[in-house]
Each structure stands twice: as structure tokens, then as C-alpha cells.
Amino acid sequence: MAEKDYRLSPRVDQVGIQDRVDRFTKRSVKNEAKRKGLYMTLNMIDLTTLEGADTDFKIKQLCYKAQHLHDSFPGLPTTAAVCVYPNFVKTAVNQVKGSGVKVASVATAFPSGHSSSEIKLLDTKIAVDNGADEVDMVISRGKFHSGEYNFVYDEIAAIKEACGKARLKVILETGELGTFDKVRRASDIAMDAGADFIKTSTGKISPAATLPVTLVMLEAIKDYYYETGKMVGMKPAGGISNSKLALQYLLMVKETLGGKWLNNQWFRFGASSLANDVLMQIMKQESGIYQSKDYFSKD
């Protein structure tokens, strides 16, 4: 049971959030700062495939890409993790063994979250038993909208317990929450209930991650840190497909939470196509010219 009345969570002003975000979109990242930012971005990506059509072969290709982003250019980092459905966790774990790339699995009746508690727990347990390092759960948005905050809290706490050593990312699905006030409230619930990361979206609902919604969540993380001393990670997911936008996210993290959060322990991008754009930009930085998209593998 939650001890707080989450209806009293801090309020968020939409116009003010947009004003603050405008500062980040106007920052200019050049030269060495850009190069470093791009490398950091690659190393923060949860390379993701969450399709009905996923197969073992597809997963294997994704896992190879995560470890070998662009082998013709040595010295690149790996991605942070691969993110897959629970039934592919075993395959993924075998593929990335020893590389440092983590395996994240969505769980809890992803993406809608509509199922019984037993099934959600079992879903989580299967992912963890198969070796998932991280679990990306979804909150019950229906219960949240009904004001059943204790239900949402208890569910997250139960999944956290089922995760054992695996780190838990809690997906708020901000595109379904409607207002920044609600995003803040859901962030507070998730962190209090034990989330290691809070995450914007499943990628199945539009809008997915945006700069303003991520800023609201970063501010919540900051307040939580001041209150408890506990660091919580942030993962915007969906809709971040180019380098410029990714760098703006990193600036936002830097100016809101400071340098301690600027690594893949505490910040991730959930993305499928971002890596290639970052690779293109890195090659442009190195050679001075843009290369064709056909020089980068599409997996």
C-alpha cells in the first residue's frame, strides 16, 4: 500500500515546460562535444524489436548488430541492451553472452497491461528465469485513470519483487495519460513502488517519448533523489530517431540531473532506428562527408 496521496503530487505547467524545452532545442552541440555525445548515445541505446512478426532469426540479427554496430569503423561502443519479448529472452541471452550487452524483456501483458495479476507475475518470472537482466513492465493505465493508485503501486511493487536481481523499468505509457500532471503522478507512484527506471512509452501508442514529457519525468527523478537519496534511471522510448534530437535529450539530462546520470546505468534510449542515424553522423564527423544510408546495415 502506498503511504502517500498521489493526488497531491506536484503540479506541472505545460507552457512553462515548453519554455524550458525550447532552451534545449536551441543549444548548439559542436565538434568534440558532438562526437562524445554521439558515442554516449550509441552506448545508451536499448536496441529494440517488439513486433508480432519477430522470430529467432530476427532476434539473432538484432543481437549481432547490438555488439557490432559498424565493424568497418573500429572503436565504437556496443548498445546498452537489446529489448525483446519474453519468449525470445533465451535466444538473446545466448547471442550476447560475454559482450556486456544486457538483455531487457518487456513483460506484464505488454503493451496494454490488461491481464490478471497471476499472468503478469508469471510473464515476469519467465523472462527473469530465462536470464533477462532487465524487465520493462507496463502500468495498468485503466486502474490509474480510475484513481486506483494503490492498485497500480502494489502491482509495481509485486513485479519488482518478482524481478529479483533484474532491474525494473516501469513504462508509464505517457501518450495515454493525457496531462503532464498525470505523468508526474505516475512517475511518483512508480518510483515509490521501487522502479529502477521510469520509461515513457511502449512505442505502440502515439505520441511516444517527447522532450517535454521526459523533462517532467526527469524533474520527478530529481525531487525523488533529494527526498530519498536514491537514483532512478530514465528511459524515453519511441519516436527518437535522429542524432540531433538524441543530443537534446542528453543536454536535458545534464542540465536537470547532472553528469552522474550521463551513462547507460541511468539513462537509456528505447529505439530501433536511432543507432543508424548516429552512426551516419559519427562517420560524417570523421570524414567530413555524409555517406549513403546503404553503407549502414539495416537489421
Binding site: P10, R11, V15, R27, K222, G258, G259
Partner: protein, 486 residues
Amino acid sequence: MKNKIDYNSDWNLDPAPESTGHINLKSKYDLFIGGKWVKPKSEKYFATINPATEQKIADIAEAGQADVDAAVKAAKKAYDTVWSKLSGKERGKYIYRIARLIQEKAREFSVIESLDSGKVIRESRDIDIPLAAAHFFYYAGWSDKLEYAFPNRQPKSLGVAAQITPWNFPMLMIAWKIAPALAAGNTVVLKPAETTSLTALKLAEVIQEAGLPDGVVNIVTGYGKTGAMMVEHKDVAKVAFTGSTGVGKIIMKAIAGTNKKSTMELGGKAANIIFEDAPLDQAVEGIINGIYFNQGHVCCAGSRLFVQESVYEVVIRKLKDRMESLYVGDPMDKNTDIGAINSKKQLDVINNYIKIGKAEGAEIYQPKCKTPKKGFWCKPTLFTNVAQSNRIAQEEIFGPVLAIQTFRTVDEVITKANNTPYGLSAGVWTDKGSKIFNLTSQLKAGVVWANTYNKFDPTSPFGGYKESGHGREGGLHGLEPYLKFD
């Protein structure tokens, strides 16, 4: 504090300077009188410098009595023979043309503005110059609609308007003055502030290019003495001034007993009020924007902060955190948030107030940022433990210095907010609509912003109560001071 966010990082931005290669500046500027560049009869020139580097940019003419006489004479002639005879529609065409030319040359204008004034390129590029163009566009539209703006009052132009503008928003304040004056059918003699004459002189070039009839706008440069000559000239029908309350009082004394109309936009010491139910993170952003925008060289700057006691600790913490990520330095860098102080003189004024604040027992806080060696710089500063009776809470500092007090009840904060000789602007931060309406009707300030700050638009009138001046600029209200009615 046990958990302090550490804003140090090994990922830091590289310099991203705006290029200056594209601008066209002369090394010496004469006076713009009767549509031509004329040498000052005073034969005197003074240097204008870049306050971020202390390097000279150009020499500027200093207009003496004979020059001011010539300028007013040219304006009077243009009024009598051309401008007062043109239809509103024709006047509007010229004003639209000026607006479009400013837009076309916006990049050049903003770079020159930042070089000459020390303000950051982000602000001159995104705020000053676009807003200046917007003012010309807006008032161009009123030129042929004065009869509709003031129905059954038969509006008529006044004659020659003497206009004196400040150094904090050089180009924007010129637009606030010239655009309504021309739309209403007056001619103009304008004097920009001595430290920031360059955009006014670039505007003179635009005015030539627009083909405005000779003498409709005359630009004379110089110090306060030159301004005094304009104000006292017998052929001037209207005086418009933006600047300090001290100078405003001198001007009002000088025109007392004459028929001259006046608009005074003077100092301020705005109260920014945060209630416990406010969206705190955005309120903090608004406070930062309210006081550190344009290095605090803003007459409506939110320089007094009132925080409800129940959220005092957390607001101060958030303010200090936010200050850690403000970039202070080169105004030409696209990432800079706080640029150079406009002049040595103003820096001395600010530093003196910081000294006074410390002596009064207030606690000072400045972030750890470094400032360049050359040029005029002041770190963003806040004072806590401030009393209403402190001078730093009463007098206008016109720099990046915030004085913070606490309050307990609505009545208390209204009393304190209104307890000032000024009354230009105020800010209210709360999630409760009824509280906003209660405060906006009780605060004695020309502008009250709710859950935002320093938002400007040509359609919105701006001006003050009490020692903040009289008359309004902007909007329909901004036309009235340039008209007489039967």
C-alpha cells in the same frame, strides 16, 4: 544538504559562435537628418565599444544644439509639407516596407545588436529583432484605421515627436517608439542611448532603402545633453522617453507648462510571487527568466521574489540548482544564457548594490561559473534573508540580482508587493485560477503575468503606475499618446 545534485560533467559544450563576417558596419557614423547623412556641426565624435571585449566598434557623431535644431527643422518641414498630407493607407505602405526590410536583415541586425550591447545572440535573434519587426507590422496595420480605433473622436496627429530610447533593448525600444508615431501621422527625431547607437544607425539605412520621405525620421546620436536639447526644443509637440526614473523626472520638469504631450516608461522593481500550490519547477524557470533575461537590464525584471514560507526551502534549492546550468560569457555564442553588462558604469552600479546587500546582512549566492577576464561581467546573483526595508529590495538595480523574501498570507504579499514607488509589472505563480484573478485586480502594476513572465507582444499595451511612468506603448493604447482629439 545530504544529496546535492552535481552539475559538473566531463561532457561539456564546445564554443558555438555566431559568425560576424556578414555584417556591414562603417567605422564612423554621422547624423541622419533630412534623409541624408550629415557631419555633426559640433564636430565631435565618441566611440562605441563592445562591452564583452572592451574593443571599439565605431565612432559615433555627438549632436550639439545646431544639429538638434537642424533635425527638428527637417522633421517639421517633412510634417508640414509631406507626411501630414499623406493618407493613412500611404503611410502604412512605408511602415510595412520598413518592417519587411528589418525581417530581411534580421540576422545582421541581431549580430550588431549583440556586439554593441552585450546581450546574448539567442535573445537578439529570437526576441529583440523579430519583435521589433512585429511592432512595425502591427502599427502599419493601424495607419489607415485610426478613425475606427477611436470612433467619433476625430484623431489627429501631433507634429514632431522627440523620442529618446534606452540601451537595454536598443532596436526593440526604437520600434516601440517610431512605429506608432509614424502610423499616427507624426514625424520623428530619435536619439538612441549613447552606448548602443548602432542598430538605430542601421535602421536609418533601412529607412533610406524604404524610400521614406526625407525628414520623416531623423536619428541624432549623443549623450543626455543632446536629449535635453530635443526635449526643450520649441517645435517639438511630443516627448517619448524610456529610461531611468531620475531622468524621467528631469524631462517632466523641463516640459512643465508647455503644450508638449509625454509618454514616460521608467524604472521598476517588480514582485514575482510564488504560492505553495504553484507548479514549482516551471515557476523557478520563470523566476530565472524574469530576473536574468538580458542580464537583468529590464525595467520590468522580476527583481523582488516573494516565496510562500511553506515552500521556501525547496524553491531556493531549485533556484540554486537551476543557476548551476546557466552559461555565462561570450554573447555571440549560441549557447550563452547570460551575456555582458552593458557598460562599465552600469557594472559599477550593480556591484555597489551587491556591496550594499551584503552590508545590510542579506546572504548572497552566486553559481560557480567563470567569467571572461576582459569585458564587463556580473554572475547571476541572488540574495536571501532580505527585509522589505533593505535598499536592495526597494531600489532598482537593473542587473542580474534577485532579492528574495518570504510571506505567509495573500494579504501580506499584496501589501508588500505594492509597497514600492514603482508599479510596472508583477508575476503570480499558482495553480488556482481564482487566486490569479484576485491578485491581478489588486496588484498596482501595469502588467501582471500569471504562470509566466516577460512575455511581450505588439498587441499588448505596456506601461506603469506611479514612478514607473505614464502613457502606454503597444496595442491600441500605444497610438493614443501620439494623437490629439477634438
